[in-house]
Symmetry: C2
Subunit: 256 residues, 2 copies
Amino acid sequence: MISKQKIEYIRSLADKRGRKLAGCFVAEGEKIVSDLLKTTLHPVELYYTGKLPATFELPAFHLPNILISEKEMERISAFKTPASLLALFEIPSYQEIELPVLNGLGLVLDGIQDPGNLGTIVRTADWFGISDLYCSPECADIYNPKCVQSTMGALARVRVHYTDLTKLTRKALNQKIHIYGTFMEGENLFETSLDSPALIVMGSEGKGISPELLPYLTRKISIPAFPAGTNQLESLNVAVSAAIVCAEFRRRVQRD
Amino acid sequence: MISKQKIEYIRSLADKRGRKLAGCFVAEGEKIVSDLLKTTLHPVELYYTGKLPATFELPAFHLPNILISEKEMERISAFKTPASLLALFEIPSYQEIELPVLNGLGLVLDGIQDPGNLGTIVRTADWFGISDLYCSPECADIYNPKCVQSTMGALARVRVHYTDLTKLTRKALNQKIHIYGTFMEGENLFETSLDSPALIVMGSEGKGISPELLPYLTRKISIPAFPAGTNQLESLNVAVSAAIVCAEFRRRVQRD
């Protein structure tokens, strides 16, 4: 059983404003909830419909867990086909770190509005040991249900900051951090030197990197099409571009 | 104005069965329709709501174009927020090619069911000069509205074949084509030799590569996480993995 008030509260977390007010976000589905329960994130409450898979384990500490009907789950879920499991977690707050790049590499996202792309980029960052991701306020909110779904637990290991990118890149430049921007035309990613520590700036597919950030870029780089010099009508998906650039940075470091 | 029959016909194209019956698919939105009109695909009909942007050009040849109301557009569109423009195109039929790999590289998708991922992979293939993409019958249909939307015109330049992958890989192996499969554990992509001509096989995120295909793989490869040897709980998104592998193949060829 679940009260009307609680239903309204959980539904309000589907919106950014509701999440900000509550300081909580929702994760739905066995895999993502299981994954997040094993991380440093703080779970608040767990709702399930009684069809919990045998493989699912409740955490060792006490976590309020509430059996609800499938109809109730439909009412609190953000998805058309709800899972049997839904959990509320606290939105973590990250202290501003002095040097914005750990492990040699950080990612900066300028206006990435597609939640699926943002989620995929967080997974990629996690894979390549990038602990900090900086988003402009126009980016999709990482705690929206679609993003949470597509991050697959990487959400708990990558710190996603929403911040003024002009200030961030200016500060990074003062700290001798190299700032690479990806463009349709720039130096060939595979042939240019890639120095660390570095921030990689990705612009949105529609608008590219904001003009305000251009003065702070130390180099423009570009992923070469094949065969070289092909007149490309299209661009790569932004999550794909980010992944190819991160992979190349890490390949060079591992080779050296 | 548009007849009831026509509305039903266009709506039927949202389903794979309807598209197969009609031999047509739907593209929605100014950018994708403009792009596809410039390709070798055959347009059949164009519908618009009278809010056509000034930048849009009708093709030089005669193409039936029908002004409809916004309400009518809502009825024929597959999207919640319809664009001002919708076009029907013939589904191209590709002859089976004797040697399945042109330009040294081909992609094989085994059970990729997410339309967004499939569309993104088609864009990536286009970027890296991969002309042929082989899908198992379980893959998403490339002509479904979401796929068409996410391919951004690359749809017209990459031939997407739906075929029996066991037969395909057996035939390729007989033709001395190298077949690389991507796995969580395999040889380090960046350190192993990559030979051409090659097919790259991508399995689904949930199930991986089908057991039936394993005997035909010449090598198992893996994208190394950073730092090396990190105990990875998660995997990369399949479209991201495909892109990193394709980029590495092309990087080696361009360098040589």
